[in-house]
Amino acid sequence: MTTYTTHADALFTAGAPILGTTAQEARDNLVSVTEGDATAPKIASQAMIAPVAGTTETLLTLLGSTGASTTQSAYPDDFERSEPGRSMGFVVLVPGTIRITFDHGTASGTSETRVMQDGSAVQTWTGTAGYTTRTVDLTISVGETITIQNKLNATGPANIRNVFIQSTTANMAVA
């Protein structure tokens, strides 16, 4: 691994010559950053390509076309991310905007599906018999937990499928 070299400001005094070794170290410093040398500055997540809400790239698929369902009539914990059909989610790694799309509805009766951002509902829809496609474009910040939660109002079960997180740029904004 290429070692990172810290340069004193005095090396770059106006009019002073830059030594070949200093220039070489400056070149190698770029390499050491990309290699993650222990003493090199780390790349901030904000420096990565920001996601932009759109449909070009699917960053994450939480549920496919088969989907899942729930007969529960109450939402689980706001931050629950691993109950397919009832509560699915992800954590934001890079700030920007994303598009969340899903189909929801019931076999019969009504359901309710909401999008939670760090524990607060930003959108809630009522599902009816069959499937309806919903879309939320969302401004996201690093570290936020986003969940898509589904519950049954009456009869049921409450179904959800094709839960996608999308962007116009391919990146690793969410996980």
Partner: protein, 150 residues
């Protein structure tokens, strides 16, 4: 451009922009440029935050009671254990009675309490006489899904 715009929360940190009934854009105050655009009036006045009406627990419970199901054998057993059908043997062997109880033949059959079957009609009738109401039925057997908590 938007059908409607409104604040998402009471603290006014987010705005919900309806592109259609099924497509919304949520703009946070952390997105300075979009936030400024929305507040410039270019998209119209931003509506006040309107909290979702919280469903009443009684409605949730009524909904659950209408859809929860259980194994009918468990229900029949529980009814007998609670003294509801002390005359079950006589009734089962009396041919003309429509709600004749066929315990074994119903194995694996899941039912809701709203079923109009003769057995349920009789069970409800007897429960009424014994002053056993909905809350008592809630705890009688293992309903699926579980009873919602307030």
């Amino acid at each position: 451009m938007y059908q409607k715009i409104e604040y998402v929360d009471e603290a006014r940190t987010k705005v919900r922009c309806y592109q259609s009934e099924s497509h919304v854009r949520i703009v946070s105050n952390k997105d300075a440029l979009a936030w400024e655009q929305l507040h410039s009036g270019a998209f119209g006045e931003i509506g006040d935050y309107t909290p979702l009406p919280k469903p009443k627990f009684a409605d949730i419970l009524a909904s659950w009671r209408s859809s929860a199901s259980c194994d009918i054998l468990q229900l029949q057993d529980a009814a007998v254990d609670n003294g509801f059908f002390d005359d079950a043997e006589n009734l089962a062997s009396s041919g003309p009675i429509k709600w004749r109880i066929r315990w074994e033949s119903r194995a694996g059959c899941f039912v809701t309490r709203e079923m109009a079957a003769p057995f349920f009609k009789e069970l409800h009738k007897r429960a009424k006489v014994k002053k056993r109401f909905d809350a008592w039925f809630d705890d009688l057997v293992a309903w699926q899904p579980e009873k919602p908590m307030e």
